[in-house]
Amino acid sequence: MDTSFEEKSVWVQLVGLVVGLGSYLVVAGLMVSNGVSALPAFVPVFAVAIALVVAINIAGHVVAAVASQSVEADERDRLIACRAESQSSWILGVGVIGAIMALILSVSGVWVAHLLLISLFGSEVAKGALQIVHYRRGI
């Protein structure tokens, strides 16, 4: 596949997010279903997930840089990133509004925090997926 460094970078970030935060959400879902409701209990799992995301990103970007002739973004990369962001940011917005509504309704902090996290995760994954679509199909 003929890809620029920026497109490879998007793939790396997407894989890092899906593997790292996706794993966290699976584990957190199991913890919630087992009755864990204290936020501090989730912190170690979240820290491991973030470390996994960072490790995947570092390793992936090193490989992408070695496999690419240039690591500089050009106007097409910037336009694609900007358009994908504008098309996906509503997901985070919905999550924030939902979290505010949940706070008004006195929903547990665990649910509010995870609603925010899921909306951030969904927004970033959608952004990455849209960037790949724009790179492949044209813009």
Binding site: D2, S4, F5, E6, Q69, D74, E75, R76, G138
Partner: protein, 75 residues
């Protein structure tokens, strides 16, 4: 050849051929974009900014309208 997604057509492939089989990478280096972006412009998957369009026409020493044509233009 990939189906064009933009209304702007171009003669870049032909002009590269007439400039000593200039490669996409050589053109990309001269206009300050990646080779993949030159490929996307040639394939009609991306309409470049006016600045990059002018840079391309400058490289080939041709007027802009000889390099790019608006497919939706009438009469």
């Amino acid at each position: 050849m990939a189906r064009s997604r933009t209304s702007v057509r171009n003669q870049i492939r032909t002009l590269r051929f007439h400039h000593g089989e200039m490669t996409q990478q050589q053109l990309a280096d001269q206009i300050g974009v990646t080779r993949q972006t030159v490929n996307a412009i040639e394939g009609g998957k991306y309409s470049p900014s006016l600045e990059v369009a002018f840079r391309i026409s400058h490289v080939f020493d041709k007027p802009l309208e000889e390099v790019f044509q608006f497919a939706g233009a009438s009469g």
